[in-house]
Subunit: 237 residues, 2 copies
DNA sequence: CAGTGGTCTAGACCACGGT
DNA sequence: CCGTGGTCTAGACCACTGG
């Protein structure tokens, strides 16, 4: 039963979700415990089973509980919350810092995929690719050096895009849908070129993000983004 | 109506979600376009509106479409997919690489929070904290150096935990619930101590992850994890 | 086999936000 | 105001899986 808080607490699936979450956090239902069934909870909260179902489903998506048919709903022993990293447009990142964005195209060439790239993307060697290097600035301070390879077969329009004006990052995100992406983070030492572009001293540590994206099974692009010294990527859970 | 594909073709909210997704990816509904209303789609697919609702809600959670009352559902101009980063236990990371996990406690001391820590966590200066440093190895090769500060007030039991056996990482995850966490990634140069513990040459670039966690408004812990040279953190979208 | 979650339905009412 | 999404309901059947 338990009348549900009328105004602020509200009724509905959020009330159920929050109350269940509270009981888990306060260890009324400790890690590993099995929750009552949906029907029982529905009876307790005086709502339909579908409402409880949605509440529990969301807790499951959050990684708080684990659900299995027949055996029921259990509190996960390790609360497996997850951070979310959106794919962003560099320009937006910069503008979000209240800085003026500037973009420079450094080089642009069409070549065949070198062996390492072919194997990274799963392309035939020599497959035509567009190789682009460019810089992103925030208030005229170096922000990010971007090096990118694009599978021309997957994105034929890229060869006629005006990459002097709009960054390949933004052009691709606006133009090409992708179904799958893989991202990796690492620390690298500045070589002479990176040091030059990013105003870093050679050998100093730089944060790098690499991303490959695919459309279905077709590789689209590999991008290597190296940030200015001291950069931090931050996100919340 | 739509005769019901029995097994593989399926009917249901997944069928609707996938079909709508397909139409978006194939530009039948290009970025910015407004989709038919839930009722119209329900009629087209021969299902209840609630089914369409769930399909569209999930697409919205995926960042594919944007929904607003009265104005309807629109295809987002920038597909804003998100990567997910789970909070992991180092031991599991190592074991997932088929390596033997070893853990060493390097130092453990109870002190007052120094100013920089107090301000990072929002604690009063001098608040009692536990300071722990330890190493994680994979097959006897250095894997991660962990330095951690724990707010004793938030986790009194930590002072009696046997941190020589189980890492503070694992102990905390198993013991303390948290409601909020902030993570940041960066690249740092190995100082002499890090170089020593991680078998790196001094000055070489190392990947670092920092995480602060809170329970409600109460700060719980700040951890600084520095990885061996060449480490990459990888995740998928 | 039987219990539990997973999903669907047809209908209803509500809340928000353009017009 | 009133159209659109947001949510709830009561009931039903299905799918998976543990015993």
């Amino acid at each position: 039963m338990s009348v549900i808080e009328p105004t602020t607490g509200k009724t509905g699936y959020l009330a159920v979700r929050n109350e269940v979450f509270r009981r888990i956090q306060t260890r009324i239902w400790p890690p590993g415990a099995t929750l009552p069934t949906e029907s029982e909870l529905a009876a307790e909260f005086g709502c339909a089973r579908a409402t409880v179902n949605r509440a529990l489903r969301e807790l499951s998506e959050m990684g708080i509980v684990e659900r299995r048919r027949k055996s029921g709903t259990r509190v996960k022993t390790l609360p497996a919350k997850q951070a979310r990293l959106p794919i962003t447009i560099v320009r937006h990142e910069v503008e979000a810092r209240n800085a003026a964005y500037r973009y420079d195209l450094i080089s642009r060439s069409e070549t065949g995929a070198p062996p390492w790239l072919a194997s990274r993307l799963g392309l035939p060697q020599g497959q035509p690719v567009l190789h682009v290097r460019c810089m992103h600035y925030a208030d005229s301070a170096p922000y990010q050096f971007e090096e990118r390879w694009v599978n021309i077969e997957a994105v034929p329009d890229i060869v006629s895009a005006d990459l002097a004006t709009i960054g390949p990052n933004e052009w691709l995100l606006r133009t090409v849908p992708f179904t799958q992406a893989e991202v990796s983070f690492s620390a690298v030492a500045a070589d002479t070129e990176l040091a030059n572009f990013l105003s870093a001293t050679p050998g100093s540590p730089l944060f790098r993000m690499e991303r490959t994206t695919r459309l279905g099974t077709q590789p689209v692009t590999l991008v290597r983004m190296t940030y200015h010294p001291g950069y931090r990527l931050t996100t919340s859970y």
